[in-house]
């Protein structure tokens, strides 16, 4: 199922990246979009609250006034409130499915996964509470069923459903309580969202501006075309017969209706427990490589690894033996073994005048010394006919190793950002290869969140360690095509080789005159 889901996401990714560009691809920023929808709901909620009356008869009437008497503001606000919350429900669900499909929930990432499960409950509780406030037929239906659902738990002396026996048992104070809950639960949700991203650095909580603008425009269009409306007013003296439902958030109510509260509780709690233990379920995902190791001898305390670690696994402490200096420390519970820190370390340079190449921080099995030796060995056996390409790839992006040929040397590693920029300089300067290609996950969808962004910034000299100016940029290509772009990468390498050949010919032709 996971493979099928992954394939589906890859196909959708390709479509959305083509139409939106990778920077605006909504599937790459489902978490950020969820935050965005939350803020829309919060802001429009504040506006609606100003005009809302917390009483039995006032609730429905005030919402009707907001919707019809000031449709151009209040009506649009109400529609935004409803559609943004439904969109948040869908984006959160897609976010969960995507992280599952892409294997981004295990190891140290269990924290974000597990803290996300209560958020689902809070999100649904907040949305359901909002529908109560409208106090129409749908509200009556869900109020009674929710009360019966909660009454199934042996926690309250007086059944909550007794508040909804008929019109005479309904109290104005209940609406005050509902408003309190409808503000309190989203605040709890926001706190939970903050905890959810606590263990990741540079968490993306805002979508790309273009995507945000497009989303707002689309919501405005839908709000004007199909404004959110109330159903007939609630009347507890008459039973609800047929009711229009919000199937995004109220989909469990027909289950409560037919199964009863007990079985529905069993299903929801069972599903939540199952989701919670997913990070520890045996699966076919590859074993996690050993965590990053700091070599105090070669760590100068620059903090570049700290700045680049996407999971806040690196901190600094007083150096073990260099007084007044600091050194990096890796928290094994947070390290995902991506190797981005090794690529960030200024000591990871093959130009260093040391007997044995070493570095301040590295991943066992992908130590810089081993990476250099692998690079040199693979390049050494290439034929000299066609332009020689050094192809570095990541284990989660385009599959590079089968692309190795007599003119292409390929090395796959946990993350492409493990390659220090100095390696590219070294390979070209020593004439070990004619061109270097670094490939990886799709742009904006790095398996380790920030690998391709950091590498781009290092190569454009916006982030340390930089790729030196002397490196001819036309001989270096960064390609973020993902697993689904493997075939395209192969074609692009062929094209790169042709470009390099043409460049060589031009250079040779120009040389006699120059």
């Amino acid at each position: 199922m996971k493979a099928l889901l992954k394939k589906g996401f890859h196909q959708a990714d390709r479509l959305f990246s083509n139409v939106f560009t990778p920077q605006w691809n909504p599937l790459y920023q489902l978490g950020a979009l969820s935050f965005f929808y939350f803020w829309i709901v919060a802001i429009t909620g504040v506006y609606l609250f100003i005009f809302f009356e917390t009483s039995i008869h006032g609730a429905y009437a005030s919402i009707e006034r907001i919707t019809h008497e000031q449709w151009f503001v209040g009506g649009v606000m109400r529609s935004f409130h409803r559609y943004a919350s439904a969109a948040m429900g869908i984006s959160v669900t897609l976010h969960l499915l995507r992280e599952y499909a892409m294997d981004r929930y295990s190891g140290p990432r269990w924290f974000s996964w597990v803290t996300g499960i209560p958020l689902l409950w809070l999100l649904f509780a907040a949305a359901i509470g909002g529908y109560w406030l409208v106090w129409d037929q749908q509200a009556q239906y869900i109020a009674i069923l929710t009360a019966e659902f909660l009454d199934w738990l042996p926690i309250m002396v007086d059944p909550m459903a007794s508040n909804f026996l008929n019109e005479s048992t309904l109290s104005n104070r209940l609406f005050s309580l509902l408003v309190f809950l409808h503000i309190g639960i989203p605040l709890a949700l926001l706190l939970g969202m903050f905890i959810h991203i606590k263990r990741i650095s540079a968490a993306r909580t805002n979508p790309a501006k273009g995507l945000a603008a497009g989303t707002l425009l689309a919501m405005l269009a839908v709000s004007l075309w199909k404004p959110a409306l109330s159903q007939a007013p609630a009347n507890l003296d008459r039973a609800v017969t047929e009711v229009g439902l919000d199937w995004v958030f109220l989909n469990t109510y027909p289950l409560i209706d037919s199964w009863g509260p007990g079985q529905t509780w069993a299903l929801l709690v069972g599903l939540s427990c199952l989701l919670t233990i997913v990070p520890w379920l045996p699966s076919r995902r590859p074993e996690q490589t050993p965590i990053a190791v700091v070599d105090p001898e070669n760590c100068n305390g620059c903090g570049w690894c700290l700045a680049d670690c996407p999971y806040e696994a690196v901190t600094m402490k007083e150096h073990d033996f260099k007084s007044g200096h600091q050194q990096s420390v890796v928290d094994p519970d947070l390290c995902l073994s991506c190797g981005i820190c090794a690529g960030a370390c200024p000591s990871s340079s093959p130009f260093r005048h040391v007997d044995e190449l070493t570095t301040g921080i590295s991943i066992p099995g992908f130590h810089i010394k081993e990476l250099l030796s692998l690079t040199e060995n693979k390049l050494a056996v290439l034929a000299t006919g066609a332009p020689r390409i050094m192809l570095y790839g990541c284990d989660h992006g385009s599959v590079v190793e089968p692309m190795a040929s007599d003119s292409v040397a390929a090395i796959s590693m946990p993350c492409s950002a493990l390659v220090p920029p100095a390696f590219v300089d070294y390979v070209l300067r020593k004439n070990l290869a004619d061109g270097v290609v670094i490939s990886g996950c799709c742009e904006g969808d790095c398996h380790y969140r920030l690998g391709n962004s950091w590498l781009e910034q290092r190569f454009s000299q916006e982030r340390m360690p930089i790729l030196r100016t002397r490196v001819p940029r036309e001989r270096v290509r960064l390609r973020w095509l993902g697993e689904q772009g493997t075939a395209q990468l192969r074609e692009e390498i062929d094209a790169f080789q042709r470009d390099l050949t043409a460049e060589t010919v031009v250079t040779l032709q120009e040389a006699p005159n120059g």
């Binding site: 409803r82 439904a86 002396v157 459903a161 007794s162 026996l165 507890l236 003296d237 047929e242």
Partner: protein, 164 residues
């Protein structure tokens, strides 16, 4: 992809996302109560009779008590559970024992149930025993009722069963 066609594609994908949302937030409708059906709710909140009677505390020897002090009375706190029965046209819809609340079973007994019943004429019988010392129903309501489709009839208890 040309800029115009890209924006057109985006508009299409936004529409594909938001139009189903606009539809799904109120459609398709769900049938909660079939036509020709009504609802009968019963909600009882009542404290059963105290089990046992007050008695004199004989734990202290007579000689230890001052002359003007009478022996204290000890009264049990535990209340009787409610034995409830609801019959419609002679058929039992509900029969249960509702325990008193509280750690010492000294609180009220509360219950609520909702039933779907066919609209029309029926014969309703409600019986309750709130005294463990007595056999049979201590409270009873037997009445013919007529329910319109989708009508909600509520049976509550306050010094006797009431229909609303």
């Amino acid at each position: 992809m040309a800029k115009a066609s890209r924006y057109l594609g985006q508009a299409l994908l936004y529409a594909l996302f938001f139009l189903p949302i606009a539809w799904l937030t109120h459609q398709p409708t769900h049938t909660h109560l079939e036509p020709g059906m009504a609802e009968l709710k019963i909600a009882v909140r009542h404290a059963g009779k105290i089990i046992g009677q007050c008695g004199t505390d004989n734990s202290a020897p007579e000689v230890l008590l001052p002359e003007h002090v009478t022996r204290p009375e000890i009264c049990p706190r535990e209340r009787s559970p409610l034995q409830l029965e609801l019959l419609l046209d002679g058929e039992t819809l509900y029969r249960a024992t509702v325990a008193p609340s509280g750690l010492h079973n000294d609180g009220v007994s509360s219950m609520y149930r909702r039933f779907r019943v066919p609209a029309g004429r029926h014969h309703l019988a409600l019986r309750m025993n709130d005294d463990a010392a007595r056999e049979g129903a201590t409270w009873e309501l037997v009445a013919p009722i007529e329910l319109a489709p989708a009508q909600v009839l509520v049976a509550t208890f306050k010094e006797g069963f009431r229909l609303q």
